[in-house]
Symmetry: C2
Subunit: 392 residues, 2 copies
């Protein structure tokens, strides 16, 4: 999306494309590797930033290398998909995975009238999501004729009459002109690991709030690095764009002598599935238990607009709190309107370590076109306060 | 909207309609007044809740009692307006006032193809709003053919050829088949004042966080009562539905022996003007100065969706912070999408007394359909942090 020349001319940054770093010599202060004509290079550094990102996981299973199979990784992959679609040869697609990338691909393919099936081995559509909210997402997919095959482990991909067939161990197979693999991503941390840097969750590169790795001269930022969770205080790997971007700036500031420490992440995320907005922040009840909290949770449904105002649709809110401290731990929302941006209110509350009771008293906006007098988040918070009191 | 009978039968609440309280005997513990047949009544109390609300201000000016003039106060007033509209006799309307009630009425009348003019004496459309944001609201009104006459003091209303004419002192007059007066509201606090209760700002009834007036047995809640502002700590009168509702519940809890103390209000408000969402929370720069802060402010414009996602429109954000403490003091937003619910994030930050820097580090949601990687609020917060550092 931007050439090396632009970086050079506009910002005085020497971007060396085609240079593959093969080794970080942390104590020697240099990176070494191979250049465009297989020429060895060695570049010394005072400070090094590792920003190697993450890459899609490609299962090493039979047939995943067939020509019908595409992993959504680079701009080129999307061009490959587009070319296939434009050729008219694609009428059926199978997407392996059910994360938000998988769902966004499903939506994009349905917009082109292609039959779409989503498959994954686990029983839950979105395992981190409250079951009632996840059921709404499933209905949304199915109402747009997306086949949702949970409990389908795509152990191999075969060829069958000029088409691919995605097979589970039980002998069921789904025909496909196009197979998209979107089963998650993994941090590109091999170089860091080989250099002896400490790794964090999921093999990400462990960094402190100043984005420093375990070596004082080396920073890591972006999808390759971990972060502290503002609720649990624990290291987490939640590779999302805002944190990646923020961490990049913070490293630059830090190297240039501005002391910057990042607060950490709340794990706030949002995505669109057809006409639904799906949002989360903080911990799920299961994550809260693992982090040592004693969670209580409620799930409510409230209208997106005042009763008197036409066009309202339900918003579902799932809220998690800690019985012992009273703290708000997490929130999830699903709705046709008003879910995406509403999630930012509990996200800020998590940064402030608010209790559910404190959050329940916040002065949220009300006007009939935009919500009921008691915002759905407040309805949920009031119920959670009650539940936590009754059961504690 | 609900009869006295329903209250009696469903909740065991004895609702006495047609009973006008004329005096509160605070120390005697009774209210006295006149019943439906002008019969005197006296009702003793252990605890009294004053929930007399607020009423629209009707200027005592010449011609404001003409038959063309309606004050939007009761359900009946709206029926009166509807009947007039249905009679087809209304082709031109003048609305006196430019608050959100005035704007909502303007929108409702334009939807019925009626010519609408808004008038007010002051020069600013929305005096509390940053000038850039207010200009966007004015453009929105004008692009829907609403005439905006700021600096027009409607000193009298005359009759003129079977129509009303709204006149300013300079001799300009605007013809109207319908004149709507929406110049603001005032708390109904006369009874409380006569009973010797302490009054707060704008003649509202002063209450503590437990909604107790200056008399220990008497509470006040709703649009007649004041509140503490979470940013300034000062008493304010911001009559809005959520606080009114919340205060009512809190009084009931308190009287029933549950200790409840309300946090106060952030002054969060939102309204719709045609296709625009207009939102605010906390203090304006002027209010901040009056409250003893040393405010700095920025105004930015950012797209409502990611660059790559079609259909984005600008969101304007105005953010106010305190130079001395670094605290976030207030926010204002105007946009076609995503402004109404986004305002809740800074509202929560105000409750938590966050600094602008802390707010700038919050993990807000990002997905291309719903915003850029850096949420417009974060773009504004980053700029405000910079500005506060440079100038302090």
């Amino acid at each position: 999306v931007r050439t090396a020349q632009v970086f050079r001319e506009k910002s005085g940054i020497n971007v060396l494309t085609g240079h593959r770093v093969e080794r970080i010599d942390a104590n020697g202060g240099a990176v070494t590797g191979l250049g465009p004509e297989a020429n060895a290079f060695a570049i010394p550094f005072d400070r090094l930033l590792i920003a190697t990102g993450a890459a899609p996981i490609v299962p090493t299973r039979s047939g995943y290398d067939r020509p019908e199979v595409v992993v959504v990784k680079t701009l080129e992959d999307t061009h490959t998909i587009k070319t296939r679609l434009h050729s008219g040869a694609v009428t059926k697609a199978v997407i392996i995975g059910m994360g938000y990338i998988a769902m966004e691909m499903a939506e994009a393919l349905r917009a082109r009238q292609i039959d779409v099936a989503l498959v994954k081995p686990r029983a839950e559509l979105l395992p981190w999501m409250d079951a009632e909210l996840a059921a709404t997402v499933r209905r949304e997919l199915e109402s747009h004729q997306v086949q949702v095959h949970t409990g389908f482990d795509a152990v191999r991909i075969e060829g069958q009459g000029g088409r691919a067939a995605v097979c589970d161990p039980g002998g069921t197979s789904l025909p496909a002109d196009l197979v998209i693999v979107a089963v998650g991503i993994a941090p590109n941390s091999a170089l860091a690991a080989e250099a002896g840097l400490t790794l964090g969750p999921a093999g990400s590169i462990a960094v402190d709030p100043r984005l420093r790795t375990s070596h004082p001269a080396i920073y890591a930022a972006g999808d390759c690095a971990d972060a502290f969770h503002v609720v649990s205080g624990q290291r987490v790997w939640i590779p999302l764009a805002l944190r990646a971007n923020r961490a990049g700036w913070a490293v630059a500031d830090h190297i240039c002598g501005k002391p910057v420490a990042l607060q950490g992440v709340a794990g706030t995320a949002v995505f669109k599935v057809f006409d639904l907005q799906v949002a989360r922040t903080g911990l799920t009840a299961a994550e809260a238990t693992r982090a040592g909290f004693t969670p209580a949770a409620v799930t409510i449904s409230a209208p997106s607009r005042a009763h008197s105002y036409p066009g309202g649709t339900p918003i579902q809110v799932h809220l998690v709190g800690d019985r012992r401290s009273g703290r708000l731990l997490g929130a999830q929302m699903v709705g046709r309107e008003g879910a995406a941006h509403r999630i930012n209110a509990p996200a800020v509350a998590l940064h402030a370590a608010m209790t559910v009771e404190q959050f329940s008293q916040t002065d949220l906006a009300y006007a009939p076109p935009f919500g009921p007098t008691w915002d759905p988040l407040l309805v949920a918070a009031n119920q959670l306060v009650k539940k936590m009191k009754e059961e504690s």
